[in-house]
C-alpha cells in the first residue's frame, strides 16, 4: 500500500483517537498539576432573606468572586506540582497510620479506604467471574441442541441489564424489608439489616458483580469451547482420563488466551467499580476510587467543585489499573514472543 493511501485510511481514526482519547487524557493530566480558582474579594453585604412571617436582614462579611468587564468570574491558574496528589493521598497521615500500625487509622483516610475496597473487590470477583464463566459455558455446551438457545438467552440476561438498574434492583430486593431480606429473616428467624454495616454491603456488591459479569465471560468461553480439539478429548477418554482431568489438562489450556482476555477486561472494569456504590447507597459505609473521583467532581450547592483533585484521583486510578495489568500483559508478551 502506498504511504499516501495508508495515511488516508488511518488518518481519520488517528484523529479521532487524538481528539477523544489523547486530548482528554492530557487535559486531565494537566489539571492534576494545576489549580484554577476564582479571585475572591471580601465585602460587607446586607442581605435579606425570607422568614415565615417577616424578612430577616443581616449584614455580614461575604466572600464573593471578582467579575471582569464582561461580567465573567476572574480566574487564575496556578501550577502546584504534586500538591494535589498529596491532598488526595494524604501521605503524612498515611505514614503516621503505617508507623503506628493502625489499620483503622489507615481506613479513616478516604483514598486508602477506597483503594482497600477497590482492590479487594477486583481481586475477589476475578476468579469467581472466570470460574462461573467456565461453569456456565460448560453447561451451555453440554445442553442438548433443543434447549441450548433458551439456555444461552437466560444466562445472558444479567449482562443485558444496565448496571445501575441492576444495582438498584438488588438494593430494593434487600433494603429494609425487601422481598429477599424478608425471606432470609423468615429462614434464619432473626432480624436482618443488610445495609447497616460495611461487610454485608461489600458481599452483596461482589455477588451482584459476579452475577452481572459472569454471562459475558461465559459467552466468550462458550465460543472457545467450540474449537476444542475433539480428537484430543476422545483420545483422553480412551486413555481413561476423568472429566476433571480432561477439563484441567485439555480444555483449560486451550481456553488460556481467552481467560487472560476476560481477566484483563474484568480487571479494568472492576477497578472502576462505581454503579454498586451509587445503586446501593453505600457511600456511608464503603467507597470506591471511582466514586471518590465522582465526589470530587460533583459541585456542591454553592457551585464549588474540586476539579484538580478529581483529575489527580482519575490519574491515580489509571496508574492502579496499569499496575494490575502488568502480570497479565507480561504473560501475553511472553506467549507472543514464544510463537515467533
Amino acid at each position: 500500500m502506498k504511504p499516501k493511501v495508508f495515511a488516508a485510511f488511518v488518518g481519520p481514526s488517528i484523529f479521532m483517537m487524538l481528539l477523544f482519547i489523547a486530548f482528554p487524557l492530557l487535559s486531565v493530566f494537566w489539571n492534576s498539576f494545576n489549580v484554577t480558582q476564582p479571585i475572591y474579594e471580601t465585602v460587607e453585604v446586607e442581605s435579606c432573606t425570607a422568614g415565615f412571617l417577616e424578612q430577616t436582614c443581616t449584614t455580614e462579611m461575604e466572600t464573593r468572586p471578582v467579575l471582569n468587564e464582561d461580567g465573567e468570574i476572574m480566574r487564575q491558574t496556578e501550577f502546584v506540582g504534586l500538591q494535589t496528589y498529596r491532598n488526595v493521598l494524604e501521605m503524612d497521615r498515611f505514614w503516621e497510620a503505617v508507623s503506628s500500625g493502625s489499620w483503622t487509622g489507615l481506613q479513616n483516610i478516604d483514598f486508602w479506604a477506597a483503594l482497600r475496597f477497590t482492590v479487594m473487590f477486583t481481586l475477589i470477583t476475578l476468579p469467581l467471574v472466570v470460574g462461573f464463566g467456565i461453569g456456565i459455558a460448560m453447561v451451555i455446551n453440554n445442553a442438548s441442541q433443543f434447549i441450548r438457545g433458551p439456555v444461552i438467552f437466560i444466562s445472558l440476561l444479567p449482562f443485558i441489564i444496565t448496571p445501575v438498574i441492576g444495582a438498584l434492583s438488588i438494593n430494593w430486593l434487600f433494603r429494609g424489608d425487601g422481598i429477599l431480606t424478608a425471606l432470609l429473616e423468615w429462614w434464619l428467624e432473626q432480624d436482618l439489616a443488610l445495609f447497616a454495616q460495611a461487610w454485608t454491603i461489600e458481599l452483596l456488591m461482589m455477588v451482584y458483580r459476579v452475577w452481572h459479569v459472569a454471562p459475558f465471560a461465559a459467552i466468550i468461553f462458550y465460543a472457545g469451547l467450540q474449537t476444542v480439539n475433539q480428537d484430543s478429548l476422545e483420545s483422553a477418554v480412551i486413555d481413561g482420563a476423568s472429566r476433571w482431568q480432561r477439563l484441567r489438562l485439555i480444555i483449560i489450556p486451550h481456553l488460556a488466551p481467552l481467560i487472560i482476555f476476560v481477566a484483563m477486561i474484568h480487571l479494568m472494569d472492576a477497578y472502576r467499580v462505581f454503579e454498586e456504590v451509587v445503586g446501593f447507597r453505600a457511600e456511608g459505609h464503603v467507597i470506591s476510587l471511582q466514586w471518590l473521583t465522582y465526589d470530587f467532581l460533583k459541585p456542591d450547592q454553592a457551585g464549588n467543585r474540586s476539579i484538580s483533585r478529581a483529575s489527580a484521583s482519575a490519574m491515580l486510578t489509571m496508574i492502579g489499573i496499569a499496575i494490575l495489568l502488568v502480570p497479565l500483559l507480561k504473560r501475553t508478551w511472553r506467549d507472543h514472543k514464544g510463537t515467533h
Partner: protein, 402 residues
C-alpha cells in the same frame, strides 16, 4: 414517583404550547424555565404554562445544570427556580439580573417578605419556605399517653418510651443519608446549639463544644432509627411514615402534605405537625426558601415577559388551588394544619440556613465525614478534626482561603 415527574414534565411542556387558560395576559415570547421537580414547582410551573409559549423543565438535577445553562449567551433558560443555597453560584457568576424595576412595574402585590435582596438589589422572589419540623403519630401518642416533645431531649425520651412499648417498627425516622442529607442534620443540630460554621475569614469553627454536643445528639438519635439510616433520604422517611413504620420524625415541611395523600398513605389524618424540637438555643431546624430568579443574559423584553409569567405562576389563584403543596409565602395563603409545624418552628426562632460559598464546602465535608463517627469508626474529636482538615483542603483548592 420518578415516572410521574417525568410524565408531568412532558405533559407540562405540551400544555405550554397549546393551552392559554386562566392567565391575565397572553404571552407571545418563547420562555423556558429550569427548576427542581417537587410538588410546589409542579403547581407553579403549571400555572405559568397557562400563559402560553412556556416550557417548564422540572429536574431534580437542576443545580448541576443551572450555573452553566445561565452562563450561556444567551441564557438557555429565562426563569430559574432556586433556594437560598442554589442561588449562590448564580449570584457569584452574575448570571441573574436585579429585579428592582420589574418588581416595581409588575410586582406591587408581592409581600416584602418575598423579596430576596442582596446589597439593596432584589435578586430573587421567594414563593415558599421550607424547614424540618416535628411530625408525630397522634394515635400512638394518645395510646401511650405521651405529650408532644418540645425539646430534643424530650424527643429522644419519647422515642425510648415508644421503643419500649414496641408499637411500631422504629420509633424515629431521620434523613440521615450520607452526603447532603446527613450534612443537613448536623447543620440543624449545630444551629440549634447556637453554632456558626465559618468565621469572617472563612476559617472553620465547628471543632468545639457545640460541635461535639451536636454529634452526640445525632448519635443518640440513631439508636431509634432504622439501622440502615445512612441510606435514608426524605422520600424514604416519608414512605416509612406513610406505611406506618415510624412514629416520629423531624422531617421537611414540603413532605407534610404527603401524609394525608389517600393514594399513598395509610396514616391519613393521624400525623400531627408541630415545631421542631428545641435545642439549647434554637429549634433543631433551619429555614430555607424557594423562589424564582430571572437570567441576566437575555433581552429586557424577554426578562419582562418572563417576570410577568412567573408572577402569574405565583399568584393567589395558584396557591388556593394547591394549598397543601407547600408553605406558601404568596398572598392569599391560609396556613392550615399542615403548615402548623413549619410556622411554629419559625416562631420558635429557627435560624435561616447560612448559605455561602464556604458553607457549600462545609456542608459537603460534613455530609461525607460524619458517617464514620456514627458507624463507630472514629471518635467525635477525630471526626470534627478530620472534617475541619477536609474543609481546609477543599477551601484552599477553591481559593476561599490562602
Amino acid at each position: 414517583m420518578k415516572l410521574k415527574t417525568i410524565l408531568m414534565a412532558g405533559a407540562l411542556s405540551v400544555a405550554g404550547s397549546v393551552a392559554a387558560a386562566e392567565c391575565a395576559f397572553e404571552n407571545t415570547t418563547e420562555l423556558r424555565s429550569l427548576t427542581a421537580g417537587f410538588e410546589a414547582w409542579k403547581a407553579v410551573t403549571d400555572a405559568m404554562a397557562e400563559c402560553g409559549n412556556f416550557e417548564a423543565n422540572l429536574d431534580q438535577e437542576f443545580r448541576e445544570k443551572q450555573p452553566e445553562a445561565f452562563a450561556a449567551e444567551p441564557s438557555l433558560y429565562h426563569i430559574g427556580g432556586v433556594s437560598n443555597s442554589t442561588m449562590i453560584p448564580l449570584l457569584n457568576a452574575g448570571t441573574i439580573r436585579p429585579l428592582n424595576d420589574l418588581v416595581e412595574k409588575h410586582g406591587q402585590h408581592l409581600k416584602p417578605n418575598q423579596l430576596i435582596t442582596v446589597d439593596g438589589d432584589i435578586m430573587a422572589v421567594a414563593m415558599m419556605v421550607n424547614n424540618q419540623h416535628l411530625m408525630y403519630r397522634t394515635d400512638i401518642f394518645e395510646e401511650l399517653d405521651l405529650e408532644a416533645p418540645t425539646t430534643y431531649d424530650e424527643y429522644l425520651e419519647a422515642a425510648a418510651v415508644i421503643e419500649e412499648a414496641d408499637v411500631v417498627q422504629y420509633p424515629l425516622g431521620g434523613t440521615f443519608k450520607s452526603g447532603w442529607n446527613l450534612g443537613e442534620e448536623f447543620v440543624n443540630m449545630f444551629l440549634a446549639h447556637g453554632g456558626t460554621f465559618v468565621d469572617d475569614n472563612n476559617m472553620p469553627t465547628i471543632n468545639n463544644e457545640k460541635g461535639l454536643a451536636s454529634l452526640e445528639q445525632l448519635k443518640a438519635t440513631t439508636e431509634y432509627l432504622d439501622p440502615e439510616y445512612l441510606a435514608s433520604d426524605s422520600t424514604y422517611v416519608q414512605q416509612q411514615f406513610q406505611q406506618g413504620q415510624i412514629a416520629m420524625a423531624n422531617l421537611w415541611a414540603s413532605r407534610a402534605g404527603a401524609m394525608n395523600d389517600p393514594e399513598e398513605s395509610q396514616v391519613v389524618g393521624k400525623v400531627t405537625m408541630a415545631s421542631a424540637p428545641m435545642g439549647p438555643e434554637a429549634p433543631v431546624s433551619s429555614i430555607w426558601w424557594d423562589g424564582i430568579v430571572i437570567a441576566a443574559n437575555i433581552t429586557d423584553e424577554e426578562a419582562e415577559a418572563a417576570f410577568r409569567v412567573a408572577m402569574e405562576g405565583m399568584d393567589t389563584e395558584m396557591v388556593q388551588a394547591n394549598p397543601e403543596a407547600a408553605v406558601w409565602l404568596v398572598d392569599g395563603y391560609e396556613p392550615g394544619e399542615i403548615a402548623a409545624g413549619a410556622a411554629a418552628t419559625a416562631a420558635n426562632g429557627a435560624r435561616p440556613y447560612p448559605a455561602s460559598s464556604a458553607m457549600g464546602i462545609m456542608h459537603s465535608v460534613l455530609g461525607n465525614g460524619i458517617a464514620a463517627y456514627l458507624n463507630g469508626d472514629k471518635d467525635a474529636e477525630t471526626t470534627l478534626a478530620d472534617i475541619e482538615a477536609a474543609y481546609m483542603t477543599s477551601a484552599k483548592e477553591a481559593g476561599l482561603i490562602d
